[in-house]
Amino acid sequence: MAALLEVQDLRTQFQTRDGLVYAVNGVSYDLAEGETLGIVGESGCGKSVSVLSLMRLIPEPPGKIASGKAVFQGKDLLKMSPDEIRHVRGAQIGMVFQDPMTSLNPVLTIGRQLTEALELHMGMNKQQARQRAAELLGMVGIPQAGDRLDDYPHQFSGGMRQRVMIAMALSCTPQLLIADEPTTALDVTIQAQIIELVKRLRDELGMAIIWITHDLGIVAGLAKRVIVMYAGFIIEEASAKDLYADPRHPYTLGLLGSLPRVDDTQHRRLVSIDGLPPDLLGLPKGCPFAPRCAFVIDRCWEENPKLELVSPGHKKACWVDTRQGRPQ
């Protein structure tokens, strides 16, 4: 399949009072049409910044995209003029953010917020746009959609607002949907509703999805391929099946070990990852995970490993073969 999006060596940095923060450090991946990619990592690992950079939504200054290419349908998103990128955002790439409470405008009706993009990108007139907006709300499962167009966001519950956000992101039938922790603020039963909805829409509309989350459980049921990020680097990339059955990077191993499972019948002690999340001020000389790693060897402190193929479709950035056990 043709690549819909090709990201190469993306680097994003932020200038702060304490110095330069290296948020994303040379991230490369590609995404085929209709594919679902999961990006997993803890807070501060650069997963959100890496996709915000693609959409050119990083405030400059203090942020800066230091290098990289992001070719979407043959054109580099990072080299587009502000005018060109505005036609991509919303129209060809839709985005759903984490917090549905703050990403809707509280003083505009839901209908107005939905029709804005339709009039702008699809060239619809007011009536057509309103008609389409009602269809969209119906599609995401909001009852009496036509009557609710004139309601304001505060009249919707959290789960409903996230449905509205999804309707907005899909309004111009984009080829790519970027979902940045869209269910983190929601309860589990509502989260299950939203995930089912996205799966159904993906099958109906055939769009590609980048789903960003810290929850390895959500990605397991949703994504074909998963990227694990740490300190702004991709440290492992594999098909979902390989990653969960055969994790190769010590950090991925640790993450999976630290998760209790709802279907777990043995009361085993959780494997915790020692130490603290990384400090992104300044680039580490060696592997960024070395201070917390159970497998660390001398080389880890000297050289940062590159992301390399370990088996077909499975890449990791680590000097140690974790299947051989701990080196000490």
Partner: protein, 332 residues
């Protein structure tokens, strides 16, 4: 019912918050029925998990038990290690203050529950001074012990909370809760603000402390996987009432209440092979408002198996299905 093993007994506990209108002559026009008649007991040395979605009243239950909110009605009995039973809901003033030593709380947000102007040593030492347990040098020594117990460097006593990460702050909150050697700790979502890799550290610490100091926990959380991991028994709350209570494995392997079933099926499992085969029960709609909860069974508006008019008209009884597995549903 009150055998030697029971530390805490909660009987038909209710907490309603008034909704008022007007500025000077505030008139009560309704109430938020945050907790509306819950009964359970907690055994000495166990961890009782309390799960439910946001707004179901689980935190209010924890706070009302500790008398941080005074109950609207109902009773809470606390049997201390000296085998004396106190009715917490009837105590006030000095006798209640004395009881507070025995029961402590760990809060959800480690960023909001530590005073930014106090040093860590002052934060952990404050309960000791307030309750007159130690003074001067003795406080310092105890603080250093406590810091070591929760896995922090004892030299940190002079630092301020902003110098610590989320996981470290949560450890400080735990040290403060332990300062008075309590018997019972309410853990109100102690890990939900933390990163995944740090959550495991804190949970392991809580488990170690429990066996070391023979603590009893009421563990409030919305993460059903973590509750299964840490609890001995689990209670499931929905809209101010407990709908099911059972031992951990019984609840997860054999859930009886339709809400528990839906809740468990909604939790994602970090395994793509399992996920592919799982059947989800997707609940329709949102949790109704606790200001005006549904009549009869509170779950009937979203229940996939509700029978009308039965479920709409009568409130289901709290029945024992054998082996301490209790459930409130007409159709089980």
């Amino acid at each position: 019912m009150n055998n030697d093993n029971t530390l805490l007994q909660v009987v038909d506990l209710k907490k309603h918050f008034p909704i008022t209108q007007g500025i000077i002559f505030m008139k009560q026009i309704g109430s938020v029925k945050a907790v509306d008649g819950v009964s359970f007991d907690v055994r000495r040395g166990e961890t009782l998990g309390l799960v439910g979605e946001s707004g179901c009243g689980k935190s209010t239950t924890g706070r009302t038990i500790l008398q941080l909110h005074r109950a609207t009605s109902g009773q809470v009995f606390f049997t201390a290690a000296d085998n004396q039973t106190h009715e917490l809901t009837a105590l006030k003033g000095e006798p209640l203050r004395k009881m507070r030593r025995k029961m402590q709380m760990i809060f959800q947000d480690p960023y909001a529950s530590l005073n930014p102007r106090m040093t860590v040593g002052d934060i952990i030492g404050e309960p000791l001074i307030i309750h007159g347990v130690a003074r001067g040098k003795a406080v310092e020594e105890r603080v250093q012990d406590l810091l070591k117990v929760v896995g922090l460097n004892s030299l940190f006593a002079n630092r301020y909370p902003h110098e610590f990460s989320g996981g470290q702050r949560q450890r400080i909150g735990i040290a403060r809760a332990l300062a008075l050697n309590p018997e019972f700790i309410v853990c109100d979502e102690p890990i939900s603000a933390l990163d995944v890799s740090i959550q495991a550290q804190v949970v392991n610490l809580l488990e170690d402390l429990q066996s070391r100091f023979n603590l009893t926990y009421l563990f409030i959380a919305h993460d059903l996987s973590m509750v299964r991991h840490i609890s001995d028994r689990v209670a499931v709350m929905y809209l101010g009432v407990i709908v099911e209570l059972s031992s951990r494995d019984e609840l997860y392997n054999n859930p009886l209440h339709p809400y528990t079933k839906a809740l468990l099926s909604a939790v994602p499992v970090p395994d793509p092979v399992v996920e592919e085969k799982r059947q989800r029960i997707i609940l329709q709609g949102d949790v109704p408002s606790p200001v005006n909860p549904p009549s009869g069974c509170r779950f009937h508006t979203r229940c996939p198996i509700a029978q009308f008019p039965l479920c709409k008209e009568s409130r289901p009884e709290w029945r024992d299905m054998g082996g301490g597995h209790r459930v409130a549903c007409h159709l089980v």
